[in-house]
C-alpha cells in the first residue's frame, strides 16, 4: 500500500522543511533495518509484555450487551496498559528505535497528555532526556498529566501560539526538531506527520488488532462483524483496524469527535467536515477554510481536538473500506457515564466516542453478531472535566 514516499493512495508524503529531510530519511533507514531485526523485536516484545502489561484483555461486556439487546459487545482493554492508554505501544517502539539510532533525547507533542506521559515514562525507563510540548489551554485542562510528566523527569513546555491546543503543540515540536536534530528523536504520537511516521506508528499500534484477532478466534471461533475505535489523528483506530483490513466482512468504523455537532463550527470531525489539504508533513483531510487556513477545531476531548487525520485513514475512507462516523460531546459524555455504571469501567472521554457509537450500532444488530470496541484509555484524567460538564465543581 505504501510506495517509496509513504503514500496511501494520494495521501501521505513528506511535506516538511528541507532541514528535516535527512532526519526522516535516517529514521526510515533505521526503521527498515530494525523492524526485521529479531533482537530488536524480542526486546520490544519483552517491554510490551513485562513492562506495559500486554497482551491487553478482550473483555466480553455481558451487562452492556444484555442491556442494549443486540450484538455481542467485546471491549479491547487498552486502558489496562501501563500509563493507562494505547499510547505506550508506540512510544516503547519509537524510544527503543531512537536509542538504537544513538539518540539521547526525546521530544513529543501531547493533547490530553496521555502521549506525553507515555513518552516521559519511556524516557525515564531508558535514561533519555525528554521535552513535551503541550498547548497552554491543554496544560490547564489536564493539569494532573502535566504533574505526572514532570514527576517522570520530563520538561513540559506550554505552547501559547495559535489556538494553544494539540495542533500548535505539533507545530512547536516540529520547530524544535528543526533546531536540534543530532541527538533528538521526535516521538510523534499518532499515525500522522511526514513519512515514515504514519507507517511506524501504525506498525507499533497494530499489536492491538493482532491480539483482537487471536483473542476473538479463541473466544468465538470467528471474526467480529465490526471493530470500532475513536479517531483523532487515528493511532488506536489504525491499530484496531490493521489486521482486519484484508478481512472484507469485518466492518471498520472510526468514531470522530463532532464536538457540538458537524453542522456547527465547534467540531473536530475531520473526515466528515474537512477537505483534502497539506499540513503537518502530510497530505490528508483537514478542517480548513476556503483559503486553506487551518480551522480552530473543538471537542470536549483534548486528545481528539485535532484538525487533521492520519493519511491511511483518509485512504481507507476514499476506497470505502472504513467508515467514519461523527459522535458529539453529549453522546460521548453519556457513554462515559453509561460504561462506568453498566460495566464498572471508566473509559477515557476519547474512547467514550467509540462506546457511544457502539451503543447505537449494537441495538440495530442481531444477537448473533459480534462487535469489538477498543477502549483506548482510562478515564481517571477526565473525571473532573466531566463533572464540570455536568455542572458539578470538584477538586482534582
Amino acid at each position: 500500500m505504501t510506495n517509496t514516499k509513504g503514500r496511501f493512495g494520494v495521501h501521505g508524503g513528506q511535506y516538511i522543511p528541507e532541514t528535516l529531510m535527512n532526519a526522516v530519511i535516517e529514521l526510515e533507514k533505521a526503521y527498515d533495518h530494525y523492524k526485521n531485526d529479531p533482537e530488536f523485536n524480542m526486546e520490544l516484545a519483552d517491554l510490551l509484555n513485562e513492562y506495559a502489561g500486554r497482551p491487553s484483555r478482550l473483555y466480553y461486556a455481558e451487562k452492556m450487551t444484555k442491556d442494549l439487546g443486540g450484538a455481542k459487545i467485546y471491549l479491547k482493554r487498552e486502558d489496562l496498559n501501563h500509563t493507562g492508554a494505547h499510547k505506550i505501544n508506540n512510544v516503547l517502539g519509537q524510544a527503543l528505535l531512537a536509542k538504537k539510532m544513538g539518540k539521547t533525547r526525546l521530544i513529543a507533542e501531547t493533547g490530553a497528555g496521555q502521549h506525553g506521559v507515555a513518552t516521559a515514562t519511556a524516557a525515564a525507563l531508558m535514561g533519555m532526556e525528554c521535552v513535551v510540548f503541550m498547548g497552554e489551554e491543554d496544560t490547564k485542562r489536564q493539569a494532573l498529566n502535566v504533574y505526572k510528566m514532570r514527576l517522570l523527569g520530563a520538561e513540559v513546555v506550554p505552547v501559547t501560539s495559535g489556538t494553544a491546543t494539540l495542533k500548535d503543540a505539533v507545530s512547536e515540536a516540529m520547530r524544535e526538531w528543526t533546531s536540534r536534530i543530532d541527538d533528538t528523536h521526535y516521538c510523534l504520537g499518532s499515525v500522522m506527520g511526514p513519512h515514515p511516521f504514519p507507517t511506524i506508528v501504525r506498525d507499533f499500534q497494530a499489536v492491538i488488532s493482532k491480539e483482537i484477532k487471536e483473542q476473538i478466534l479463541e473466544k468465538e471461533g470467528r471474526l467480529p462483524d465490526a471493530v470500532l475505535a475513536c479517531v483523532g489523528g487515528g493511532s488506536n483506530a489504525i491499530g484496531t483496524f490493521y489486521h482486519f483490513i484484508d478481512d472484507k466482512d469485518v466492518k471498520l468504523i472510526g468514531c470522530e469527535a463532532a464536538g457540538r455537532g458537524i453542522d456547527t463550527f465547534e467540531t473536530a470531525a475531520t473526515v466528515n467536515t474537512g477537505k483534502i489539504g497539506i499540513f503537518h508533513g502530510m497530505k490528508s483531510y483537514f478542517c480548513q477554510d476556503e483559503y486553506g487556513q487551518i480551522a480552530p477545531v473543538y471537542s470536549i476531548s483534548a486528545g481528539l481536538d485535532y484538525p487533521g487525520v492520519g493519511p491511511e485513514h483518509a485512504y481507507l475512507h476514499d476506497i470505502g473500506r472504513a467508515e467514519y462516523v461523527p459522535v458529539t460531546d453529549d453522546e460521548a459524555v453519556d457513554a462515559f457515564e453509561y460504561l462506568s455504571r453498566t460495566e464498572g469501567i471508566i473509559p477515557a472521554i476519547e474512547s467514550s466516542h467509540a462506546i457511544a457509537y457502539a451503543m447505537k450500532l449494537a441495538k440495530t444488530m442481531d444477537k448473533d453478531k459480534i462487535i469489538v470496541v477498543t477502549v483506548s484509555g482510562r478515564g481517571d484524567k477526565d473525571c473532573a472535566a466531566i463533572a464540570r460538564y455536568r455542572g458539578e465543581d470538584i477538586n482534582e
Binding site: E18, L20, M21, G277, Y291, G292
Partner: protein
C-alpha cells in the same frame, strides 16, 4: 531566462521579506515600495498561513496579525496587481503548500502570471515533493525556489542541479528569526552549489545587521532578511514603511 536573475545583476542582492497585510495591505504596498526605492533587489511577499511551522515567533506574529485583519489570497493578488504598476523588481511569494493546494495550483499560478509574480518559496515542499507543483509552475513561468539547509549533506548537488530562479540557502538550524551569530560552515555548501549550477544563491535565516549582511553576501550572491523587517512593522505599524526604507538602505550599502 528567469526574471529573477535581474535581482542579481546589481552587485550582491538584498532580498526583503514582508508579510502581506501586516498590519494592512495599504501598508504592505508602501513597505514594498520603500524597500524597492532603497535598494532591495527582490521582495518576498509572505501570504499568511494560520500555522507557519517554519517560522519563529516574530513572523508567526505577523501571520496571525495579517489573518486577523482579514487578508486573503485573493486580496493579495489584487494588491500585487496594484503594486506592479509602480514596482518593477522581481517579486516572489513565500507561503505554505496548503495555501497553494487549497486554492488550486493551476488557478494560483494563473493569477501569479497575471500579477507578474516571478517565483514562489514553499518551505514545506522539499525536493522529494516538488512534483506536486513544479509542472504547473513551469507552465506559467513561476520559478519554484529550492531551499538548501545546513543539514542537506548528500542532497546539495541533487537540489542545485534542478534549482530555478535562485537558491535559498538556510543559514542555520531551526526556524526563522534573528540570531546573534551564524556558525554553519556555509562556504563549503556554497562551493558544492557552484559546482552544480549557475543559479544564484542567497542566504537567509538569522540575518539582521549590516555586518551579517556583508558577511553572508561575501560568501554567496545575496542576503535575505525577514524577521528584522517584520520587527519594524510590529513596532511602527502603519508608519513602518519610512523606517523599512532606511533599514534596507543601510543593509544594501553594507553589502
Amino acid at each position: 531566462m528567469s526574471n529573477i536573475s535581474k535581482a542579481f545583476e546589481n552587485g550582491k542582492a538584498f532580498v526583503a521579506f514582508i508579510t502581506c497585510g501586516d498590519p494592512d495591505l495599504e501598508t504592505t504596498v508602501k513597505a514594498v515600495k520603500a524597500a524597492a526605492d532603497n535598494g532591495a533587489d527582490l521582495v518576498e511577499l509572505g501570504i499568511p498561513f494560520s500555522d507557519p511551522t517554519a517560522e519563529g515567533p516574530v513572523i508567526q506574529g505577523a501571520n496571525l496579525r495579517a489573518l486577523k485583519g482579514g487578508v486573503t489570497t485573493d486580496k493579495i493578488f489584487d494588491m500585487v496587481k496594484e503594486l506592479r504598476k509602480e514596482v518593477t523588481i522581481p517579486l516572489v511569494f513565500m507561503t505554505y503548500a496548503n495555501v497553494v493546494f487549497s486554492y488550486g495550483a493551476e488557478r494560483f499560478m494563473t493569477n501569479c502570471k497575471e500579477a507578474q509574480i516571478d517565483g514562489i518559496i514553499l518551505p514545506d515542499l522539499p525536493f522529494e515533493e516538488k512534483e506536486e507543483f513544479d509542472g504547473i509552475c513551469d507552465k506559467y513561468g513561476v520559478d519554484l525556489i529550492s531551499l538548501i539547509a545546513p543539514t542537506s549533506a548528500g542532497r546539495i548537488a541533487m537540489i542545485a542541479k534542478e534549482a530555478k530562479g535562485f537558491i535559498y540557502l538556510v543559514s542555520s538550524l531551526g526556524v526563522t528569526g534573528t540570531r546573534s551569530e551564524i556558525t554553519t560552515d556555509l562556504s563549503s555548501i556554497v562551493k558544492v552549489i557552484r559546482e552544480n549550477t549557475d543559479v544564484p544563491c542567497a542566504i537567509g535565516f538569522g540575518i539582521s545587521t549590516p555586518e551579517q549582511a556583508a558577511k553572508m553576501s561575501s560568501i554567496s550572491d545575496g542576503a535575505i532578511v525577514g524577521s528584522a523587517i517584520i520587527k519594524i512593522l510590529e513596532k511602527h505599524g502603519k508608519d513602518a514603511p519610512k523606517y523599512i526604507g532606511e533599514y534596507v538602505n543601510s543593509m544594501k550599502k553594507a553589502m
